[in-house]
């Protein structure tokens, strides 16, 4: 279906306005993009009248349904996912990981066991099936690199000792989520039987193995292929290769996000990283904004009522679990109690990766049933709450540290 140009215009303008409003209050833009998507999307719970977008200026129509969930928006959103993961691979610092591998592995495992464990427990407690539970566990486990990194800089924590364990944990989580996405997408998209799943996992890993080999040994080729004076051509080449590889991966039943991650790692060892940051980051920001917006478009708020109890339980328990695992991680880095608590506070925000898992769940579940409807709806509500709660916790860390000191009875 052809998308009306004015719909795209409304979508992007709405994003700009929503982003500007929260930016003024120092909050994360991600929840704002989702909420504005919900507001102007086809699922706004004023399900009165028709489901077609209103004609602009229709007198007396109070519906806010201005943008329909079109293929074009979905395509742009897909590029957002691909670029988010591409940058994750690009900024993936193997050397740093190896330098500090013992501590990063330690805190990464603590973080994984505690938070993934809580996710599994929640899934079983609420009667989810095994696949849904695996999705749920991933959604509540993975912290948001985007929100956390920005908060660290805004609060000046980046220059303090607590940034070590926070960033270390994020590095570990990012590797884990890349592998996890590969496994989950193979299982979820691979059909029902165990044999099918095993086959698709095999194909996925063979494909990713080839990609990984190319990334590892092909740095020199990448270096030459992308050497051009023109920023315009450079942008097109990088976007072209990344999108093509991701697309081929998806066609083979492999997670496009993971494929993009590996393309990113292929670039991380070259001299192009700096230039990519400059030339391609604006594209990523735009497409990622559309991705969060499209999550809002496809969200049916009425479904949130069905998952309210699970949402409440998850918010309370997974905030506590990140506080716990973060505090322990701070201790692993020999931080004092105050800074260890900050590590916990810093890890609370969830964001883009939980939503990417939700998108995968919606695709795998055919937008119906527990996997296709309930899990994505839960993920959206959960990310909305956790990105806001997490940012607020970080901003008010001093007050919370004071509470802790009074509770423990320190001077």
């Amino acid at each position: 279906m052809a998308v009306a140009l004015y719909e795209l215009g409304i979508a992007i303008t709405a994003l700009a306005i929503a982003g500007s409003v929260v930016y003024r209050y120092g909050l994360s833009v991600i929840p704002a993009y989702i909420v504005i998507g919900i507001f102007v999307g086809p699922n706004f719970p004023t399900t009165v009248g028709d489901l077609s977008p209103v004609a602009l200026g229709a007198v007396g129509d109070v519906s806010l349904r201005l943008v329909s969930d079109s293929d074009l928006v979905a395509g742009l959103a897909e590029l957002g996912i691909v670029l988010l993961l591409f940058f994750l691979g690009l900024e993936f610092s193997v050397s740093q990981l190896l330098d500090d591998r013992r501590r990063i592995a330690t805190i990464g495992v603590i973080d994984l066991v505690v938070n993934f464990g809580i996710g599994l427990a929640l899934g079983f407690a609420f009667g989810f099936g095994p696949v849904e539970t695996l999705f749920l566990a991933g959604i509540v486990y993975i912290s948001s690199s985007a929100v956390i990194t920005k908060s660290l800089i805004d609060e000046g924590w980046v220059a303090n000792a607590e940034s070590g364990p926070i960033l270390g944990t994020l590095v570990f989580e990012d590797i884990f989520i890349a592998v996890y996405l590969a496994v989950l997408s193979a299982v979820a998209l691979g059909g029902g039987s165990l044999a099918d799943a095993a086959t698709s996992v095999g194909i996925a890993f063979a494909f990713l193995g080839v990609l990984f080999g190319a990334a590892w040994y092909g740095s020199g080729v990448v270096e030459r292929l992308f050497g051009t004076d023109s920023d315009e051509l450079f942008l097109l080449r990088v976007l072209g290769v990344t999108t093509l590889v991701a697309g081929v991966a998806l066609a083979m039943g492999v997670s496009e996000a993971v494929a993009a991650f590996f393309v990113g790692t292929a670039f991380s060892g070259t001299d192009h990283t700096e230039r990519i940051e400059h030339v391609i980051a604006p594209s990523r920001d735009f497409f990622a904004a559309v991705f969060f917006f499209s999550i809002g478009l496809t969200t049916d708020v009425t479904l949130l009522a069905d998952v309210a109890l699970l949402l409440a339980a998850a918010v309370v328990l997974t905030t506590a679990s990140k506080l716990l695992s973060g505090t322990v991680s701070g201790r692993v880095y020999d931080l004092d109690p105050r800074r260890s608590l900050r590590v916990g506070l810093g890890m609370v925000p969830r964001g883009e990766f939980s939503l990417i898992l939700a998108t995968l769940a919606a695709t795998a579940g055919g937008s119906a049933g527990t996997l296709g409807e309930v899990v994505p709806a839960f993920a959206v509500g959960y990310v909305l709450i956790m990105s806001i709660v997490g940012t607020l916790l970080i901003q008010n860390a001093s007050a919370i540290e004071g509470l802790r000191e009074r509770a423990v009875g320190e001077s």
Partner: protein, 165 residues
């Protein structure tokens, strides 16, 4: 002095400089070239942000700090280097026996090896004074000579041995 370098994924690079004691300067270089500079008084304190500058300003600031625009000569007195010799401004103390002598009688060139380029008296300057020029207490002699020669003259001029370190 140790410099610690860390990658900050998604942001850029972080450098920490030990500036003496437990204090550290923390410089965060963003991928977009922006620099943020923090100061951390001691390991237990929170870092306070000192300033943020753009990449271009940072390079300018860096070259100023490096001394590319103005390189002070780090000695305890102002000197103009001329090979081994340099120019000094020396006070003629009332206690010195040179007060009242003419330059010819003092024969400073012979005695110390220093040439007197000019004499400053109150707000007047007498350039190239000849041998009949009579020195007076309170004069400032503008002299050219090596470090040793200048020291010798300084003693003759009755400078209290105020060799400030």
């Amino acid at each position: 002095m140790t410099v610690y370098e860390t990658d900050v994924p998604g942001v850029g690079k972080k450098f920490e400089l030990e500036t003496g004691g437990d204090e550290r300067l923390v410089v965060l270089i963003h991928h977009d070239g922006k620099r943020e500079v923090y100061r951390r008084p001691d390991p237990d304190a929170d870092s306070e942000k000192l300033f943020t500058v753009s990449g271009e300003t940072a390079r300018k600031l860096g070259s100023i700090l490096e001394g590319a625009y103005f390189q002070p000569v780090e000695t305890d007195e102002v000197q103009v280097p001329l090979g081994d010799a340099f120019i000094e401004w020396l006070d003629l103390e009332p206690s010195s026996e040179l007060a009242g002598q003419t330059l010819g009688e003092a024969d400073l060139r012979q005695e110390t090896g220093v040439s007197v380029l000019a004499v400053q008296r109150d707000s007047d300057t007498y350039p190239n004074p000849d041998s009949s020029f009579e020195l007076a207490a309170g004069d400032v002699l503008v002299t050219l000579g090596t470090s040793d020669e200048q020291d010798e003259l300084e003693t003759m001029l009755g400078e209290d041995d105020a060799s400030s370190e």
